[in-house]
Amino acid sequence: MKLSLGPVLYYWTREATMQFYAGVADSGVDIVYLGEVVCSRRHNLRLDDWLGLARDLTANGKQVVLSSQALIESESDLKTLRRIAANGDFTVEANEMGAVRLLAGRVPFVAGPHLNIYNNETLAWFAELGAIRYVLPLELARDTLRELQASRPAAMQGEVFVYGRMPLAFSARCFTARHHDLPKDDCQFRCLDDADGLALRTRDKEPFLTLNGIQTQSALVYDLSDSIEELRRFEVDVVRISPQSRNMPEIIASFRERCAGRPGTSLEGLRVAPPCNGYWYGLPGMEYRTAH
């Protein structure tokens, strides 16, 4: 079972991003997803910078996949998307159907977690279009994964998001700019202030969600680290961990061990928030159940 690192979902400074990926180059991940998935206004790294990073990571033995933006609204979004689709060197993860149109029948691609592949019929269609791997939508349970895996088309790989705050929703509205009472078009890039997103709590002070620009995430960290053996039994090919601003080397190392069938070091104290895993068990996503 391979270990992948999802795209950085937050907006970090150029230096922080470069430093982060320098660490990733020496880490135990097999596959690295790169690119800006959330907001087209974020520009500390341009596409050429991402491509440069992709080449560096490839030279370090990583498989690199370019992730496309999850919400495409404007012609300029499409322009960037076309450049990503036509990059010629790296596999692309399509995160909405516009990207699929640009890739299907031309090059093999990864069908990302936001494409709504909920059933085997849809998965079969994606195989016909040239998808070589699909990422399970976050809200789906292990029972659904089992069915999808059991009937998956030949050579189709399965990937599951197993660690990180979950991207739960996208909007045209930027909730970070709204919090700072700024218009989205003049947001002053305030999401740079929150390396792991902006905490939203209920009025009785319970951590609930995380605001990350136009994306809304869970406050809790999805954690399937205790279910890796089960994922292996389902013949999942790749497990994905989603970047956070700190402790990533230790988290990657722990998952590396688990992927190799060994008990990894505990993630206690390494997560940015308490864990949840309800979706895996067909429960509300925010719930947590111990695997044993």
Binding site: M166, R173, L200, F208
Partner: protein, 357 residues
């Protein structure tokens, strides 16, 4: 209403470049029918299309006491056709794992009944419908999350979709750009409850309750709602999560989870969206100018009285526009009539107006 007028002026100025080459079409009116009485009243009040769902998880308003069985669907279809209206069946949730056959049967039944079109969200179901019922007209559901013309054209090439309903995330200029670049007729939301998130890509409800629009056809389901009174304070909870807290004298609204007040950085406010609803009637001329084919009214879960009022008023507005496009303005009694049935206290132009974002 004062602020609405100001924002409209901005919007008119902003959108002038959009309507440089007016296509001038009169949009059709697509109205919700949660049950047979609603369907009849929608037809009676001038809906061009009515849309409905079956009494199960195959549609995104899977609420208790709502929707149609085979007999009422047949009667609805007869009633609509007799009046020259058309009927749409929404099959707009996503079957999971190997569950597609149940949804496929719904498509078979729609074809057999002679439904005028089905609204589909799942690509696997579109593939099934296109293969097995090539004569059945397909509309791309808002739940498909197709926000750009590349995506819409892709569904068109593969499944021959006849119409696409746009998610409520695009500005009017962006909607115009989509219309210009696709052969697929475009339908947009004009009125009703407002999703802040891209439809079809929001798992907030399942995060809290285990059930979402995609998986079960519900958002913030009523069975998860609990009201708690502590002295003068009223708490609205969704599966235990405090969505809003009302002081004495405050109007309490249904705890849709994205429309509550939350704390961010010590500040308590509607962090995601106010409990407002969409009313884009003032944009009717622009919508017609850019070539919008149909305007959709949200609200299959609402009463026949709501359907009657909203359909009647929008019919009047569209007819007034068709009669004299240059002189169109929103009548005060239309606005007050819509305000009376709207959810929440406020109206918004939503994402059509760039500033909302």
């Amino acid at each position: 209403m004062g602020s609405t007028v100001v924002t409209l002026c901005n919007l008119h100025n902003k959108c002038q470049h959009v309507s440089a080459s007016p296509i001038m079409s009169i949009p059709e009116l697509v109205c919700p029918a949660g049950n047979l009485p609603s369907l009849k009243t929608a037809v009676d009040n001038g809906a061009d299309w009515v849309y409905m769902g079956l009494k199960d998880e195959t549609n995104a308003r899977n609420f208790a006491g709502l929707n149609f069985d085979a007999a009422s669907a047949r009667e609805g279809l007869r009633y609509a056709h007799a009046a020259g209206a058309k009927m749409l069946l929404a099959i707009n949730t996503f079957p999971q794992g190997q569950a597609a056959p149940r949804w496929q049967r719904a498509i078979d039944n729609a074809a057999e009944l002679g439904i005028d079109a089905v609204i589909l969200a799942d690509a696997g179901l579109m593939r099934y419908a296109a293969r097995h019922h090539p004569q059945l007209r397909l509309h791309l559901s808002v739940q498909t999350s197709a926000t750009n013309y590349e995506a819409i054209n892709f569904y068109h090439e593969h499944f021959g979709i006849s119409r696409a309903v746009l998610p409520r995330v695009l500005s009017l200029a962006q909607v115009a750009d989509v219309v210009k670049n696709t052969p697929v007729p475009i339908e947009v939301f004009g009125f009703g409850s407002l999703c802040v998130m891209v439809e079809g890509r929001c798992a907030l409800s399942s995060y809290v309750t285990g059930e979402s629009p995609n998986t079960r056809g519900v958002c913030s389901p009523a069975k998860a709602v609990r009201w708690e009174r502590n002295g003068d304070i009223l708490d609205a909870r969704l599966n235990g999560i405090l969505i809003d807290r009302y002081a004495a004298g405050e109007n309490a609204g249904y705890p849709t989870l994205c429309k509550g007040r939350f704390d961010v950085d010590e500040e308590t406010y509607y962090a995601i969206e106010e409990p407002s609803s969409l009313n884009a009637m003032a944009l009717l001329p622009e919508m017609a100018n850019i070539g919008i084919t149909a305007i959709k009214i949200e609200g299959r879960q609402r009463s026949p009285a709501y359907v009657a009022a909203v359909t009647r008023i929008w019919r009047a507005a569209i007819d007034a526009y068709a009669q004299n496009p240059a002189r169109f303005s929103v009548h005060a009694d239309w606005s007050s009539g819509l305000a009376r049935v709207a959810e929440g206290q406020q109206h918004t132009l939503g994402a059509y107006h760039r500033k909302w974002k």
